[in-house]
Symmetry: C2
Subunit: 373 residues, 2 copies
């Protein structure tokens, strides 16, 4: 028995989309799936039971943050991440790579690994592929990610090529050092904005036979059309029987376009982050409910939504809470935004099963973006 079993249950005849079931020791996840981000072992403002209520079956946690605070050994002593954060559904941890590379001047990359300074106190740290595996094994998520280098955007061809090849060598080292039998290790395809490098990276990773594949280094500032083109080049080179995870992507249009190109998994801080700034998703596009325009608006955030918030609270009340700095305001916008994206994925899965994904996508985008996405 593998730590993660993936089964494609239906293939769309008119798109690259497919339905699947991802089984971990903490449950079955219907794919395509959106994973809320719980950076510090908590999805910001949410309780575990609220995550269950909005329909989350898997959340992501960030290795870099948990390594710094509270430390992976402490999480291990607590019985692992599931026990520590009281979440008995599935968890995926990233490798720490993306966060470390985001530190910019604070980090230095060598063949061996990355030396960096903590964004919290400037203290010096070193993470290698082997150390990333050690940390992730201690955290004990159902799915760990290989330690990769995410090239900046823009980056020239030679830098991107060197970086991609380093990521392939690191992927091999990750696989060699990873040894937790109840945890799956996914590889990550890199290659920046260059089609031939994306192909090479995919081929390198696939040769290592991972049980799933992340596609990293996209949605980093490039035009969305370019991202979609690169997906069309990358996805066909990945095994059909393994899950494909487009990392850090979660706007409604990208979810629809990603699924249509064969992506099974997504994560993004977008819904929780914009919620904290008082912005919510609606069927008619985003709405900044914090604005004074909503101070006397007694409608729910989205009259079409089935979430706890939209069943009980008005825009005027939520606007009052945000305006007065009350915690409940951010709680309510967060619940709604997560439910919105997770419900969108439910509807996407339904449309795949009905062979109506293209029509659903067009109808949704027309209404959401008023015709221009």
């Amino acid at each position: 028995m593998q730590p993660v079993e993936f089964r494609v249950t239906y293939e769309s005849p008119n798109t690259w989309a497919r339905l699947g079931e991802l089984q971990t020791s903490h449950g079955v996840i219907q794919t395509p799936v959106f994973m809320p981000v719980g950076t510090q072992a908590t999805v910001k403002a949410m309780s575990p039971r609220e995550l269950v209520e909005v329909g989350a079956h898997i959340v992501l946690a960030n290795t870099y943050h948990l390594y710094l605070r509270p430390g992976h050994q402490l999480v291990e002593r607590a019985g692992g991440l599931h026990e520590f954060m009281a979440w008995n559904r599935s968890i995926l941890t990233d490798s720490g790579g993306f966060q470390v590379f985001s530190l910019g001047e604070l980090r230095k990359i060598t063949e061996e690994g990355v030396t960096f300074r903590s964004h919290l106190d400037g203290s010096k740290h070193f993470i290698s592929p082997e150390i990333s595996m050690e940390i992730q094994m201690a955290l004990g998520a159902d799915i760990a990610m290989a330690f990769d280098e995410c090239a900046p955007y823009p980056a020239d061809y030679q830098y991107t090529k060197d970086s991609m090849e380093l990521t392939s060598r690191w992927a091999r080292r990750c696989k060699a050092s990873h040894q937790r039998e109840d945890q799956a290790l996914f590889g990550i395809v890199q290659g920046g904005m260059y089609a031939d490098l994306r192909k090479q990276s995919a081929d390198d990773l696939v040769s290592l036979e991972f049980p799933g594949y992340g596609i990293g280094g996209l949605s980093v500032g490039e035009p969305k059309e370019l991202m979609y083109e690169l997906l069309e080049i990358t996805v066909p080179r990945l095994p059909v029987d393994k899950p494909r995870y487009l990392m850090g992507v979660g706007s409604p249009d990208c979810l629809l376009e990603g699924v249509s190109r064969g992506i099974d998994m997504f994560d993004c801080v977008l819904p929780t982050r914009i919620a904290r700034h008082g912005t919510v998703f609606t069927r008619n596009g985003t709405m900044t409910v914090r604005n004074a325009a909503y101070s006397q608006d007694f409608l729910p955030l989205d009259p079409d939504c089935d979430c706890y918030v939209c069943q009980n609270f008005s825009r005027a009340y939520i606007r009052h809470l945000l305006n007065t700095g009350e915690i409940l305001g951010v709680r309510l916008t967060t619940i709604h935004n997560l439910r919105f994206l997770i419900r969108l994925m439910e509807e996407i899965r339904e449309s795949i099963s009905q062979n109506t994904l293209p029509e659903f996508r067009e109808g949704f985008l027309e209404r959401y973006y008023g015709g221009c996405s």
Copy 2:
């Protein structure tokens, strides 16, 4: 049918405590009761369903804050406070007096009312007894409070006497102008730290025949023993068949001592305020779980507690959340603290019915304060 019906169901033979049922159009409240404070139409960090879960049957909201933001007319247009904040159990609003008088230099008192400047933007406002009634009728709580002057502590005899007499005159004006049939208006006894003034105030208020009586101006800095003495002077002058509400008091020892002296209702920001600073109640006294001492402590906040938090989360996790500024940390300490006080009241009611309140009180205080309260 009165807007509020109160029935004493049991009188303790060995203390002044009694059990009662306070019926409003939003349900029955078992007394003695602790009321969480929802200053801005939200009990900080809590959702309405979490308030139900911790056992709250009535919450307090602050007239002064809601008058400023979002404004009582807006709340009225929303359908009243219950509808606005999605809370279908009972609500009590204070009169705004205490907050206005807390503004110190920013306010000026005349016979007519109080002129003050907003703590938010310095704008000038005027509240009279009639205006307080108008605001509270618009807010639409089940119980409104008369507009009183809360004398500062310490205050000399003459100041306190004049202030108490003003409060009595204002109480008469409140009663004359209050006209909402589904809302009860309680009077407030003042009189500072002077026994004869407390007696006079109680007699004045009782002559006006309110359906309930607040006791204000206590727990303002005086020794607790003095507060208890003043309760012993005041309570016997109040009608036995009306609820008695000790305003702004909520530490475990004061709840026990207040109930033992015949108090039926309490409110206090203490449990929610200390929660936001990372301090929680336990049977063995308060604990500042934010401290590093708890970083590897995998016990629940209070192993004897039945709340959601203590059933699911460890001190180490909550300490991590507080330490990293995560909203869930404050949510969890708040839920626990409110459940702790509400459960204490449940146990107090049980002990009254068993005629064991004195023993329960001694046992609780012995353990909570280690013998010295």
